[in-house]
Assembly symmetry: C2
Homo-oligomer: 268 residues x 2
C-alpha cells in the first residue's frame, strides 16, 4: 500500500509550511496542481530548492477526467506520493474525491493543511470571522446562462446582516476571473432580478493577490470599483454588511479606505 500526502501550498509559494517541506522530503514523487489558483512562474523551482525534489505539474484532466490515475499508479506500487495544492489541500471537492478513493483502496492519506484564502482574506481585510454568512463563487456564464446563486446568497446574507466572501471562477480554458469581469456579471444579475442588491452604490471590498508581495485592498461602490486597477489575478471580493466599529477602524486606518464611504455602513 502507498502513502499519499495532500499538502497545502498556501496562498503563495513562500507560504509552504515547515511540516509540508518535511513531508515533501520524504516522498518518492511530488505532483503540483496549479489550475485552481495561479502560482508564480518560479514556484516549481522554489519547491525544488526547499525540498530537493523534482515537481511534476498535473492538469485538471489528470486529476478529474482520468481519476488521478497518474497518482494511483505510483501508490499501487507502494510509493510515497505528494500532491501539492494551492491553499488548503482538502477544501475543494476534487481533492476530497481523491482522498476518499485513496482511503477506499487502502492507502494511507495524510492532509497537511495550508493557508487558505477563506481565512486569510478575512484576516487581511480585518472583518470579524463571526459575521460571515456562506461564501459563494461568481461563475462565468455557461452556454449563456448565468448562475443566480451569487445573487441569492448575498441577498440572504445581507438580510441577516452578514458579510459575504465572493470567490471568482476559473474558466474551462484556465482563465482566472478578474474583479472587473465579476462586476459585469453582478450587473447582469441585477438587471435580471432587480432586487436592489448589486446597485451602482453598493459598497464592495475588492482584494487582489492575498499573500503576494503586491496585495491590494480597495473599497468603493460598484461603479467606483470598475475604474480601479487591481493588477493580475487572483482576485476576490467581499460584500460587507453593516460594520462594527473595529471593522470600520481597520478599513480606514490600515487600508486607508474612504471614511466618508464607510461611515454610512457603520452599525447603529
Amino acid at each position: 500500500m502507498g502513502k499519499l500526502y495532500l499538502i497545502g501550498l498556501g496562498i503563495y509559494p513562500t507560504y509552504l509550511t515547515l511540516q509540508g517541506v518535511e513531508a515533501l522530503k520524504s516522498c518518492d514523487f511530488v505532483f503540483l496542481e496549479d489550475y485552481t489558483s495561479p502560482t508564480p512562474s518560479w514556484c516549481l523551482e522554489y519547491i525544488k530548492n526547499v525540498s530537493g525534489k523534482n515537481v511534476v505539474k498535473v492538469s485538471r484532466k489528470d486529476l478529474e477526467d482520468n481519476e488521478g490515475r497518474i497518482i494511483f499508479e505510483k501508490l499501487e506500487k507502494g510509493c510515497k506520493v505528494a500532491l501539492l495544492v494551492p491553499g488548503d489541500p482538502a477544501i475543494a471537492t476534487t481533492h476530497n474525491v481523491l482522498r476518499i478513493e485513496a482511503c477506499r483502496r487502502g492507502h494511507e492519506v495524510t492532509v497537511i493543511h495550508g493557508v487558505s484564502i477563506l481565512s486569510s482574506v478575512i484576516s487581511l481585510v480585518g472583518l470579524s470571522p463571526y459575521r460571515f454568512g456562506p461564501a459563494v463563487t461568481i461563475t462565468y456564464p455557461r452556454m449563456n446562462v448565468y448562475s443566480l446563486r451569487p445573487y441569492e446568497v448575498v441577498k440572504d446574507n445581507l438580510e441577516r446582516n452578514l458579510h459575504t466572501l465572493l470567490l471568482l471562477d476559473v474558466s474551462d480554458d484556465g482563465k482566472f476571473m478578474t474583479i472587473s469581469e465579476a462586476l459585469k456579471i453582478l450587473r447582469a444579475l441585477e438587471e435580471k432580478i432587480r432586487g436592489k442588491i448589486f446597485t451602482e452604490d453598493r459598497v464592495i471590498i475588492g482584494i487582489a493577490r492575498v499573500g503576494f508581495p503586491d496585495t491590494k485592498v480597495h473599497v468603493d461602490t460598484l461603479t467606483g470599483l470598475e475604474n480601479y486597477d487591481f493588477g493580475e489575478p487572483p482576485h476576490v471580493m467581499i460584500i460587507p454588511a453593516k460594520l462594527h466599529f473595529i471593522e470600520y477602524e481597520v478599513l480606514v486606518h490600515v487600508h486607508k479606505c474612504s471614511d466618508k464611504l464607510l461611515r454610512e455602513l457603520l452599525m447603529k
Copy 2:
C-alpha cells in the same frame, strides 16, 4: 518608526510558514502569545531552532490591559518586532486592535498569514466550505449567565440547511474548554430554550487537536459523544446540516464514521 510583523503560527508549531521563518530572522525582538490556543511545551525551543531568535511569551494582560506597551516600546525605538500568534494572526479582535494602533502611530505593519482553525477544520473533516453559516463560540457562563448566542446561531443555520462550526472558549484563568464541557452547556441551553436543537439524538462532529499528530474526528449523537475521550484540547465541534453525498463519503470512508448514523442526515 518601527516595523511590526504579525506572524501566524498556524495550528501547530510545525505549521509555521517559510515566509514566517524569514520574517522572524530579520527581527530584533520576537514575542509569542499562546493564550488564545494551546501550544506544545517545546514550541519556544522549536521556534528558536528554526529562526535563531529568542522568543519571549506575552500574556493577555500585556496585550490587552496594557495595550501592547511591551511591543510599542520597541517599535518607538525603530526596532523590527514580531508577534507570533496561533492560527492566523489578524483573525481575533485583540490583534486587529494592535494592528490599528500600530498603523495609527505610523509604524509599518506586515501580516504573515497562518493556517487557521476556521479553514483547516472544514478541510480536515471534508465538509463543503460553501455550506457553512456563521461560526460561533460556546462560552463559559459568566456570573452564572449563559450566552444564548450558540443556540440562536445554530438554529438559524439549521433552518437554512447550513453547517455550524462551534469554537470553544478559554476561561479567564486560561483553561481551554473541552467538548465534554461544551456539551453540558449545550444541554443547559436546550433545557432553557426547548427549541429541539440540542436534543439527545442531535448528530455532532467532535474534532480534537487539528494539525497535531494525534488529531481525532468522531461523529456521534450528543449523548454518544459524551462518552468519547477526545484527549487534551484544543477541541472544536461542527453541527452538520443535511449532508451532500461527497460529505457523507468523506465521513464514512476517511473518518470511519458510522454509516447508519449518517445515513439519515443524507440530503434527499
